[in-house]
Symmetry: C2
Subunit: 248 residues, 2 copies
Amino acid sequence: MAHHDLQTVSHECGDCPIRHRAVCARCESDELQRLEQIKYYRSYQAGQTVIWSGDRMDFVASVVTGIATLTQTMEDGRRQMVGLLLPSDFVGRPGRATAAYDVTATTDLVMCCFRKKPFEELMQSTPHIAQRLLEMTLDELDAAREWMLLLGRKTAREKIASLLAIIARRDAHLKLKSAKGSIVFDLPLTREEMADYLGLTLETVSRQVSALKRDGVIELEGKRHIIVPNFDRLVEETGDDSDGGFLV
Amino acid sequence: MAHHDLQTVSHECGDCPIRHRAVCARCESDELQRLEQIKYYRSYQAGQTVIWSGDRMDFVASVVTGIATLTQTMEDGRRQMVGLLLPSDFVGRPGRATAAYDVTATTDLVMCCFRKKPFEELMQSTPHIAQRLLEMTLDELDAAREWMLLLGRKTAREKIASLLAIIARRDAHLKLKSAKGSIVFDLPLTREEMADYLGLTLETVSRQVSALKRDGVIELEGKRHIIVPNFDRLVEETGDDSDGGFLV
DNA sequence: CGAACTGTTGACATTATTCAACCTCCGTGG
DNA sequence: CCACGGAGGTTGAATAATGTCAACAGTTCG
């Protein structure tokens, strides 16, 4: 399980783990210096709320380590997760005063924050930041639309398989392994969080995970440690055409 | 029903109907001139496909008049609409060679197109375009996330009410009326298209429209002409908290 | 006139939800 | 040290919601 703290995270942008993927990815060294002047780190424990929807938000940030979620809640309590924030993902919206979603740390979380005002000014003068942000936002839009297909049209079983495949792919990517053959990873989400992401109830999630296990698509060690003996088999269960180019 | 053709659409950017909302909204007159040099119009009849997912796409475009849809299709034919393109909305993605979704004209459609290469170059040198595109993409991302809540957590009845409320709001906005009290508008979508948008079957759509009619939330004149005697009542049926700030 | 398209409705099947019981693990306070 | 409670998870039975299949009605367009 990821267990980073401030000590293990360099404060030098130069060797930041998300240097090449985050909103600062395209910055030249002089631009990076200006960012470095306004940045600061914040860390949160697993389970902590980062921001509540509707709250005033005076910063934007990049996830450095850990995982956070974006969720929307209806008056009667129905919840839908609308984003999973992984290292390098961007939080907040330039030009908006309040948060549109609840942001919650699901693992211990470190974020690289920028006060909104200076960041917005920097965006004006530094096209590389705006360019990268546009690129990232377009990617997120694609991911959101992929998720719309899942929510609108996939069966519970396909939804679970899709989520597992996405996490497996991302995990393989982080470990610099290819998403092929046998894969092993830890689920960063509880059954309830999975349900909130997939538009299901936690009971249905539990049942379908059990079903995939019963059918040999996955193996479980404890509740969170997943073994995928054959990744292609898992992908077949997602309903996507084989190559399925999800959110990396 | 909207029935525009090229004759009725000015070719002067200056009095273009989407001048103040489209990707060119922030451009100064000199920037506009450069855009004007590379732009050209295309029109499509209702029902025509603009682009197929996976096709090479050598242009980006703004919807000038009419309505188009963005849909994704699974191998076995399940379809999910992932976007509704209204006048001023942007089509295509700078930096991507092929279309990610099927784009279809649901009404007669006029688009203002830019060849991708020159547009991308212009984006580099014209921060106002990139800025506006970022803003629009962020708005679309919010709309997509709002839609994820609908797809994942709303009942069929709430889905229908939400769709009607969105169309009613947008329509009131176009006609410069306020979305209050009694509203009248035409549905731009067939029952099947509504189903594809809402993640339902067309039968369920038909049944729930009938139910809303039976309960006096809406009245029908023919199949497409909708009368909403009390907009607040409709909004109550959406499950959203009263102000619900959807996609404009 | 007939075919094709759009829409409605009914009967029935399926899927996922709801409600409830129960299990394991873990930390804490008596 | 262990009993207790809570959090996370599983499973079963009943139920509600939506999908499927099918018949049919109204329009439009050759």
